[in-house]
């Protein structure tokens, strides 16, 4: 019963997505093209964030910690 409700809810959500983006009026092959392109872009965004965001966050945190702490760390160590 829960799976059925879940499936109905997901299909209602998909319907909302079709309506809001305007894809609802397009023919099926155009909908597939749009979904593929959108999915690819979202996948690329997720991959990029997975690879790069932790490194950027760690570097930013180190920079701000150094500012706040005011420790005399060597600039060479900071550059690496």
């Amino acid at each position: 019963m829960d799976m059925k409700n879940m499936r109905e809810y997901m299909s209602w959500l998909y319907y909302q997505y079709l309506l809001i983006t305007g894809i609802y009026v397009l023919e099926p092959w155009e909908q597939s093209i749009f979904n593929t392109v959108l999915f690819t872009m979202v996948a690329m965004v997720i991959y990029t964030s997975y690879v790069f965001v932790p490194i950027h966050v760690r570097l930013a945190l180190e920079f701000f910690c150094e500012l706040v702490g005011g420790q005399p760390e060597s600039t060479v160590a900071l550059m690496t």
Partner: protein, 558 residues
């Protein structure tokens, strides 16, 4: 708003203005932002005692588009434009069959006959949802109608009839305000009787040999109905406007027409050759400023005074559901000595306690309006138009109107239908059917509007107008709404871009006196269901469960 000479004059000599509302011009300009819900007190700011001009509450609301919805609508149109370009490219490079009109191969180098780009919107968006329009009706378009079922094998480029008929579809789209669109009853019998006597065609124009005694009878009746001296009827409502305005004004005259006037009025104004200036919709400040500018500066280059100034307004604007501010317009007209042309296409028979239109609704004197025009299509269940006014005006029009000289006159059964229905509304046929219908219409209107407002939809227009536009905004929802309503056996009219601004697409309901409370309830339940399914309950004035997702976006709401 810069203070130019006109507004300085306005502020200086409108001393009563200052008493009633402080910084008259600028403040009232802000108050007249059409998208805000106006409290009754704020409306009374025109020069002399506006509160005395209106004998009832004038409540109009045009709720502002929620920001998120506007952004998403533009995004939707952007995506559809991209796909439009893709399809055009495929059609151009022959990857896909082109269903449109194209020039022959030999004529490819000539000047283009079919404007390709201008129809971009038509072929790339309208065609995709075209099954919501032009639906063939195979019964009388009363409160319920029968529709022919159609299927399309190639995405709305062509249609085929399956042979089935959808029976008893509730009709929320016909302009059947008093329910006179029926095929049985006194009107239909009288029309049939007159067909037997006169035939159907008139085969001539009014001026030649097409002037029947029925036309004379109808004209006297219309004049009595409206409370004017004399009137004239024409075979077609659109032609009444477009063919008579050129007879009234010409070069050297000024026409001040409302922003949202109907195409027939615009066409008539353009054909006349007069200068046309457009004032903001129902905005009395804008109109007054234009009148003052016109009188002070005169004609464009020569600065001679204008020969005539004609203000053209409509009774009910059918796309917005708003009612004209007639008392203020008449006050302005008298002050600046201009003429008023009132087009009561939708309001005649539908407004007012006696059904005499917007003049009756406000309780004004019909002789204040110089030219009262209207149509018989909406409340009388017939076709055609009329113009009413002073005897000299109508006698002049009989000789000089293009419609009278060149167009075929009204057909006898239609004339008889109008005579019978008008007598019914006036009570002259001895029954109280007319009064019943008027009362039923106003009850239905109030009930329908109240329920829709409670459900949380954004409804435009005045609380007393039987035309109810419900905002849809997004392009895909236009098609989805029409189709879902038809699945639930309700026929509605949805309107999109060229008729409305691009993001403000809407569904337009026309309440009728023929709708019973049960029919309205069925329709309202279906509308609520579809509204939940499509997430259409955008209104922020009510905190319902559907609008909770928009609650974090506060905008300027009172």
């Amino acid at each position: 708003m810069t203070q130019n000479s006109a507004s300085k004059l306005l502020n200086r000599d409108a001393s009563q203005d200052k008493k009633t509302c402080g910084n008259g011009f600028v403040k009232s300009h802000c108050l007249f932002q059409q998208k805000r819900y106006r409290r009754p007190a704020e409306k009374n700011h025109h020069a002399s005692c506006t509160s005395l001009l209106y004998n009832k509450l004038f409540v109009e609301s045009f709720e502002e588009t929620p920001l998120l919805v506007a952004v998403l609508t533009y995004m939707g149109y952007g995506i559809l434009t991209i796909f439009g370009y893709l399809r055009d490219f495929l059609r151009d490079w022959k990857f896909e069959k082109c269903h449109l009109a194209r020039e022959r191969e030999e004529q490819k180098d000539f000047v283009p006959l079919y404007q390709d780009f201008e129809n971009f919107y038509t072929r790339n968006l309208y065609m995709r949802i075209r099954d919501n329009w032009n639906r063939p009706i195979c019964s009388v378009p009363g409160a319920k109608m029968d529709l022919v079922e159609r299927v399309t094998p190639d995405y709305n480029w062509t249609f085929e009839h399956t042979g089935k008929v959808l029976k008893d579809v509730i009709n929320m789209g016909s302009y059947n305000y008093l329910g006179f669109a029926e095929n049985s009853g006194t009107c239909a019998d009288a029309a049939a009787h007159s067909t037997v006597k006169y035939g159907v065609g008139v085969s001539s124009t009014r001026q030649e040999i097409g002037n029947l005694d029925k036309h004379e009878e109808l004209e006297k009746l219309v004049a009595r109905f409206l409370g004017v001296e004399s009137s004239m009827v024409f075979g077609m409502g659109f032609a009444t406007n477009s063919m008579n305005i050129p007879a009234l004004t010409g070069k050297g005259c000024l026409i001040l027409s409302d922003e949202l006037n109907h195409a027939s009025l615009v066409l008539g104004a353009r054909l006349s050759g007069s200068t046309i200036r457009v004032f903001k919709h129902n905005n009395m400040q804008s109109l007054e400023k234009m009148l003052r500018d016109a009188i002070v500066h005169g004609q464009p280059r020569t600065h001679r005074p204008w020969k005539k100034i004609l203000i053209v307004v409509e009774g009910i604007y059918s796309m917005e559901g708003s009612i004209v501010r007639l008392p203020e317009v008449i006050a302005l007209k008298k002050k600046y000595k201009a003429y008023l042309y009132l087009d009561e296409a939708h309001s005649i028979g539908a407004l007012g306690t006696r059904g005499r239109g917007v003049v009756d609704y406000f309780g004004l004197d019909p002789s204040d309006v110089d030219i009262m025009m209207g149509t018989f299509t909406k409340s009388f269940g017939a076709a055609g138009g009329y113009i009413g006014g002073k005897k000299e005006l109508i006698d002049y029009l009989r000789l000089h109107s293009h419609s009278a000289v060149y167009a075929t006159s009204m057909s006898p059964p239609i004339t008889q239908q109008i005579i019978t229905s008008m007598k019914c509304i006036m009570g002259k046929d001895g029954t109280t059917l007319g009064q019943e219908r008027l009362r039923q219409l106003s009850e239905n209107t109030t009930y329908f509007r109240r329920r829709l407002h409670e459900m949380g939809f954004i409804i435009y227009g005045n609380n007393d107008s039987p035309v109810v536009p419900l905002m849809l905004y997004m392009p895909a929802k236009i098609g989805a709404f029409g189709r879902e309503m038809l699945k639930r056996n309700i026929g509605t009219v949805v309107v999109g871009f060229p008729a409305t601004p691009i993001i403000e697409s809407r569904a337009r309901f026309c309440v009728s006196a023929a709708h019973t409370r049960e029919m309205l309830d069925t329709a309202l339940n279906a509308i609520s269901e579809v509204g939940d399914l499509l997430q259409l309950k955008y209104s922020r004035k009510y905190r319902g469960e559907e609008s909770s997702c928009f609650s974090y976006l506060e905008s300027h709401q009172d």
